[in-house]
Amino acid sequence: MNFLHIIDPNAPMAMSQALLVALTGIAVVLLELALLTFIIQIISKAVRLFSGKKKAPEAVIPAPSGRMDPVLIGVDEPTAAVIMAVISSKSGIPLEKLAFRTIRILQEEEK
């Protein structure tokens, strides 16, 4: 299926037609992803309904609350955020219960 009978991809296009294509395009992306949003919500609800509340958290996605304020040495803030989020996720301990004092990159001689 193609639209060659409506649009010639190699011939000059009228601005009105270009605007129409652009509006249709953004509408298609929005509608398709909105549909996916809806379907994901249904899947999530169905999965949670079937699995009940018996299961322990398998993949906690932490959103650090920021109560800790570690000293960063040789590490930028986004990297430090990732490190803290990963430690929280892997250990299963909520971030608000973890305290990070220092995050320091090892120097060559320290390795």
């Binding site: 299926m1 193609n2 639209f3 060659l4 649009i7 010639d8 991809p9 190699n10 011939a11 000059p12 296009m13 601005m15 270009a18 605007l19 294509v21 652009a22 509006l23 249709t24 395009g25 953004i26 298609v28 992306v29 929005l30 398709e32 992803l33 909105a34 549909l35 996916l36 949003t37 379907i39 994901i40 919500q41 899947i43 999530s44 999965v47 949670r48 699995s51 299961k55 958290p57 398998e58 993949a59 906690v60 996605i61 932490p62 959103a63 650090p64 609350s65 920021g66 109560r67 304020d69 803030e77 986004p78 955020a81 990732v82 989020a85 909520p94």
Partner: protein
């Protein structure tokens, strides 16, 4: 006789055949190598791309020669076989056939955690809104097409516009299908702007949001089960492919890679997809895409127009995500920080890091990174859907 030999050696050397366009492109390749190695601008891609430019612009090397007419039958030389083509031309078949972009998408899928997206599905809408720049750039490109020196066709305009998706493999796939003659400048613009996201986005974020909005702290994301993570790639592929089959190659490989990662029984495949395979393909893709930037095709007014349109597309995509973020901020009564909207431009994870950095600047206790990862990975899906739409409209 000696004079004749020396004269012959000179005549057959690259110096004698070096045109000014090739010389300029060789200098450009040095600049890109500098940016990649010293400034660390997307080095994993910019180094092979820059070296590809260098390789393709060395005269008389025949690295991109096509005597067999594999890419352009009009260049075919009678009696030539496929193996007579230049080595880069042969590898380029992987770009032209979409094999490389799809394999890279598989690697990206194997590296991507869709957990934040599943925990907050509204992120998908932010990822969709951040494709706005694609369509704005398309309209401007069509308008610029009326300028005789530029003269973009609708298919070329669509290929340029996809730069706004901030997704290198998607841009390469669309350009290789719709406007292969523009592949070099489009790929370079896409990767250059992706590297410049930390410079491009913050002023737009500041301009379109209030200080109060930037300070919003979002609540912790919910737990996502393994089952949800396994069902997600299968469901997304089935739905997107049924609705828009032209998006199936990109979405299909993205979700296959993600299924390798999440299903728990294909660790070796996941490991290969996200490391060895993606690295091998990146080398071949980057080098051959760079090799399409031959001087005589690259040094045109059109290239400047592509650079301008690419920047426009990036800015409008960022604005699209932010504006929808603001709308969600209002609808949810201030529970969503609009800054995460700008991460919807794809470019994983750099755009999410920018949201985190800007958010922290205004509220030192704010950690938006995981929240921004949702729109960020949604942007990958959004740009693939947008690419599928453009291929459907302008492909044959």
């Amino acid at each position: 006789m000696i004079f004749e030999i020396v004269k012959g050696i000179w005549a057959s050397s690259g110096f004698a055949a070096l045109g000014w366009q090739n010389a300029v492109m060789i200098v450009c390749s040095f600049v890109f190598l500098y940016l990649a190695i010293v400034k660390k601008f997307e080095p994993l891609l910019l180094v092979p791309i820059a070296f590809g430019i260098l390789l393709a612009n060395m005269p008389e090397t025949g690295l991109m020669a096509d005597p067999a007419g594999l890419m352009d039958p009009s260049q075919a030389v009678e009696g030539a076989h496929w193996y007579n083509d230049g080595v880069l031309r042969l590898i380029y078949a992987g770009v032209k056939s979409s094999i490389f972009p799809c394999l890279i998408f598989m690697g990206i899928g194997a590296m991507t955690d869709f957990g934040p997206l599943l925990a907050n599905p509204i992120s998908l809408i932010l990822g969709a809104a951040a494709q706005l720049g694609i369509y704005v750039a398309f309209v401007i490109a069509v308008a610029l097409g009326k300028v005789p020196a530029i003269g973009f066709t609708p298919a070329q305009a669509a290929s340029i516009a996809i730069i706004g998706g901030a997704d290198g493999p998607t841009a390469i796939l669309v350009a290789s299908k719709l406007a292969p003659e523009l592949l070099g400048p489009i790929a370079l613009a896409a990767y250059s702007y992706m590297a410049l996201i930390p410079i491009i986005q913050p002023p737009i974020m500041k301009m379109l949001t209030t200080e109060k909005e930037r300070k919003v702290e979002m609540k912790q994301l919910r737990t996502v089960s393994k089952t949800e993570k396994i069902i997600f790639p299968i469901a997304v592929f089935v739905i997107v492919s049924l609705l828009l089959p032209s998006a199936a190659p990109l979405i299909g490989f993205l979700m296959l890679g993600n299924l390798f990662k999440e299903c728990g029984v294909t660790e070796r495949l996941s490991e290969t997809s996200q490391n060895a395979l993606i690295n091998i393909v990146t080398i071949m893709l980057g080098t051959t895409v760079g090799a399409t930037a031959a001087g005589e095709q690259f040094l045109q007014l059109r290239t400047i127009a592509i650079v301008f349109l690419g920047l426009t597309a990036f800015c409008f995509s960022t604005a699209g995500g932010l504006l929808l973020g603001k709308l969600l901020y209002v609808i949810t009564g201030g529970k969503i920080n609009p800054l995460i909207g700008s991460a919807g431009v794809s470019a994983v994870p750099m755009a999410a890091r920018v949201s985190q950095t800007v958010g922290r600047k205004y509220n030192s206790t704010n950690f938006l990174l995981m929240h921004a990862m949702g729109p960020n990975v949604a942007g990958v899906i959004g740009s693939a859907v947008a690419a599928g739409f453009l291929l459907l409209m302008f492909g044959d």
